[in-house]
Amino acid sequence: MTSSYDATAAMEIVNASAPGAACVDDGVLFLDPERLVEAVRTLRDAEASDLVFLSNLTAVDHELHFELVYHLQSLDHNHILQVKARVADREDPSLPSLTGVYHGAHLQEREVYDLFGIRFEGHPDLRRMFLWDGFPGYPLRKDFLQMPGQVRAGLPGFPHESEENAWPVPGSVPQRPMHPNDPQPEGELVVAEPDGESEESS
């Protein structure tokens, strides 16, 4: 059974060679983005941790910051460690690339760049992967809205929306409850009729 590698032990390994580069918060190891490469290389090469296999690399948009999530695996000791790094800059987020430590980060970092717009400094071939150059916005960011007319407080509209190609009125698409058993929104539901008139339903 794959065990979870103790985050505190990993922090001690990192801080022995790069003091202050790692800290543990609520059982999760956070690394300083500035010294990410050095810290991860230490974790890969140290005998006790031996995290030679980059299992997964992805990012999460927490609206105030981006969180990079790495899952590092040791094949010999059969343990896995989750490592995180935070980037606060939303305008031009960037982070050192791990391609020098793990070749397997190559395509995964390109995917994160494509869908989140996080640049990886030192990546040999950082281009968009699924989407074309010039695609407006980065889809997996929370401020990239899925549907035209979708409205979230404090966020800009759908990227393709423009003056001449605008959808009727933002917010006129009624918010449909997911299931009758789900909590219904406050007040009565208004369903738009095709002819433009609206009708009240229970």
């Binding site: 030679v52 395509l107 995964q108 899925q146």
Partner: protein, 386 residues
């Protein structure tokens, strides 16, 4: 047929450019996106010096459906059909990996019968998927469709069993959070028994047909070689990693659904070339049949679905669950903010990550070898692009 002076001059210029210097200039060839040997809408842009590959660059995204974004607006149960369409040749394995991640988030206990059924269908899916992988690989090596259709005969029987259980053959949508959607139908076990009885002879036939085949050896031995160190550093997994001799199989290393109760071996290769990948897949089919035999013999009775609310709202947190899919390590990383839909839904796609080393495997070989190498990695473009 006459040619205008302009055309003749242009052609002469081209010929001179091609024959100047060391006698040749690199030629760029686009393989795909519509090409039978790219196994889907996948484009490989190769730079050739004569017939030798100097550079290989892949262009993907033709099948990008933005599933990770769509999943953020749907409930945990509504996301299960998406996972079918990620790797459509191993829908059961994808269902399973996603359900394991959601169960970890929700803290659901799965009944023993559901676990046994899950193992049964995951292994049947492996048999079907490896039949596809090996059949198309042999096709790429030049055996035009005969072995492929022999192997498809077995795959067809597996798909029939899927159909009688859940009504679908390819996008099964069979697993649920907390178990499986339906119990086994009465006719399934006799069909499976017959399948298990017939398969050893079929596999012996394939081995007699293929393993000593001189053309297959010439096309696949020593082609697309990768070292174990490089394979681990490139995050390769599944048969591609095991062909290099690394016995890393999540069913052994991190057993899920009660795999620790079944006896099976992890076949490994020696040289890490295309032929070893083929051999590993052939051997894995035999191991899957061994597991299926044990599952049928020890199938427990009882409920097949735990009591999980349809629109469950897990506590804020995160989970990362992995299974050994036919293509390698398939993981789902879910983040919950306490709402009915995942805050973040990420799939670790083995097909995409196994392509990391494609360039290194192809450079220095011929163009025909690059096709064989791509076939031996066994990609599914739905999983690459998602």
């Amino acid at each position: 047929m006459t040619m205008s002076d302009d055309t003749r001059l242009a052609m002469q210029g081209t010929i001179e450019a091609l024959t100047s210097g060391d006698g040749s200039e690199p030629v760029v060839v686009n393989l795909g996106p519509q090409h039978p040997s790219t196994h889907g809408v996948f484009r490989l842009k190769v730079t050739l010096d004569g017939e030798i590959v100097q550079d290989a660059e892949m262009r993907i995204g033709y099948l990008h459906r933005s599933m990770e974004k769509l999943a953020e607006e749907r409930t945990y149960t509504q996301n299960i059909p998406f996972t079918d369409r990620i790797d459509y040749l191993a829908a059961m394995s994808n269902n399973l990996a996603y359900c394991l991640a959601a169960e970890e988030l929700l803290g659901v206990e799965v009944p023993p019968r559901a676990n046994a059924i899950r193992v049964m269908f995951a292994e049947l899916q492996r048999v079907a998927s490896h039949a596809m992988a090996n059949g198309t690989f042999i096709n790429d090596c030049g055996a035009w469709h005969t072995p492929l259709f022999h192997m498809f005969r077995d795959r067809e029987r597996v798909l029939d069993m899927f159909e009688m259980t859940c009504g679908a053959r390819l996008t099964t949508n069979y697993m649920r959070i907390g178990g499986v959607a339906f119990d086994l139908p009465d006719e399934l076990l006799p069909t499976l028994e017959q399948f298990l009885a017939d398969m050893p002879e079929n596999i012996a036939n394939y081995e007699a047909l293929l393993l000593e085949n001189e053309i297959l050896h010439a096309r696949a031995r020593g082609i697309g070689v990768i070292s174990p160190e490089m394979a681990i550093n490139s995050s390769l997994s599944g048969p591609v990693l095991r062909a290099t001799g690394v016995p890393w199989d999540l069913r052994k290393a991190n057993p899920y659904c009660g795999y620790e109760d079944y006896e099976f071996d992890v076949p490994v290769g020696e040289q890490g070339d295309c032929f070893d990948r083929f051999l590993v897949r052939m051997a894995e089919v035999k191991e899957s049949l061994k597991i299926l035999r044990q599952v049928v013999d020890t199938l427990p009775d009882g409920p097949w679905l735990a009591d999980v609310p349809l629109h469950a709202r897990p506590d804020p947190g995160e989970s990362y669950a992995r299974v050994e899919s036919p293509r390698g390590e398939l993981g789902f990383y879910l983040v919950s903010d306490g709402g009915p839909a995942p805050y973040r839904f990420h799939c670790r796609p083995p097909s995409l990550i196994n392509l990391t080393a494609l360039k290194e495997m192809s450079i220095g070989g011929t163009l025909a070898d690059a096709i064989v190498t791509l076939g031996s990695i066994d990609i599914v473009v739905g999983e690459i692009d998602r």
